[in-house]
């Protein structure tokens, strides 16, 4: 088939419509939040003293970390799924959540006596944390990988990893409402491991599933 012939076929298909990628991303984000919320409520649900805990800095700080991660990953993944879009600023934005966690860890180390550091870090929920963040995040990750297929990421492995971070940030936001371990030491350790697992899974998905 000559290129000239191919152009005839493409032109004849000009009227086919697809939702603009940007709108589709918002739709996907909505769907992912609903999926995560349903899985969360059907499994572990929020902790009973949620309203009381909501007055403490440590509890609230967890949401700051996870929501900042989700928002920055959402900005980056939208750029990564659009060919030719600049990603520099969104890449820098990805540093925000780790930096906030780092600052919180340093503050915690100042405020908590050294003898308690170990207990705070190990907490009481690490297995639940490491299993439920991936469990809540797996549905959203599937949605985001599907969206990457709908888009056109020129760096699919990186885009897949960011899909994992986005799913992780979202899942961790819900999980944080359940978990009694509010210390930044706990968050910096176990949340990171759980979210990294989703990022790795996302990178694999990007490598083998996101072809276009």
């Amino acid at each position: 088939m000559r290129t000239e012939d191919l152009i005839k076929a493409l032109d004849a298909d000009a009227s086919s419509k697809a939702m603009p990628l940007r709108s589709a991303w918002w739709l996907a984000a909505g769907a992912a939040i609903v999926i995560a919320a349903v899985v969360f409520m059907l499994t572990i649900g929020p902790r009973p003293d949620f309203m009381v805990a909501a007055h403490t800095m440590r509890f609230l700080s967890k949401f700051v970390f996870t929501i900042v991660l989700a928002i920055s990953a959402f900005a980056l993944i939208r750029a990564l799924s659009t060919p030719g879009a600049s990603t520099g600023r969104a890449m820098v934005g990805m540093l925000a959540a780790p930096l906030l966690v780092a600052v919180a860890v340093v503050l915690e180390l100042f405020m908590v006596p050294e003898a308690l550091w170990g207990t705070r870090m190990v907490g009481s929920n690490m297995m639940i944390c490491m299993s439920f963040i991936p469990l809540i995040g797996i549905g959203p990750l599937a949605v985001f990988l599907w969206m990457l297929r709908y888009g056109a990421p020129t760096r699919p492995v990186l885009a897949g990893a960011v899909a994992g971070l986005l799913a992780g940030g979202l899942a961790a936001t819900f999980y944080a409402a359940h978990c009694f371990d509010d210390s930044p030491l706990f968050v910096a350790t176990w949340y990171t491991i759980a979210i990294a697992a989703l990022a790795l899974l996302g990178a694999l998905g990007g490598r083998f599933f996101v072809r276009w």
């Binding site: 012939d5 191919l6 493409l10």
Partner: protein, 178 residues
Amino acid sequence: MSGKDEAELSRLLRAAIAGDEKAYADFLHRIAALVRGFVRRKIVQGGVDPEDVVQETLLAIHVKRHTWRQEAPVLPWIYAIARFKLIDAFRRRGRRIEIDVDDIAETFAEPETETVSERDINRALDGLPPAQRSVVSAVSVEGRSIGETATKFGISETAVRVSLHRGLAAIARRFGRE
């Protein structure tokens, strides 16, 4: 030159997305020439046929045109897709190449030259279900309109459009997988 190209191509693609077939044909011809110039400059050693990459890029641009943000410049979008498809073509043949981002400005449009070699797209076309294959061939190689194709096969125009759209999408997917 690039600034004028940019404005004109953006205008054409916007019109095409709004349903203007004439604008789309114009757009596709122009970017085919641009991408051809880009790809030919990049392929210095053998193994990859530039025209195969041009065709893959055109298909990708077609099936991914919803990823273009209408207020963003169109040339970086086009070249990002062309570069991706070029790297992909080398990767499939077990080679790696580095492509400089900056030298797209020096690209010149080039016309298609006749070749006798078997095209990748023909293999992808042969892999389609018979109904889609015959519709895509009728519209492309035989140059029939949607209406003529519908009459030829005794099916509705909508059915022709659906088969054409699915066939093109399947060919584009096949390119990505090979």
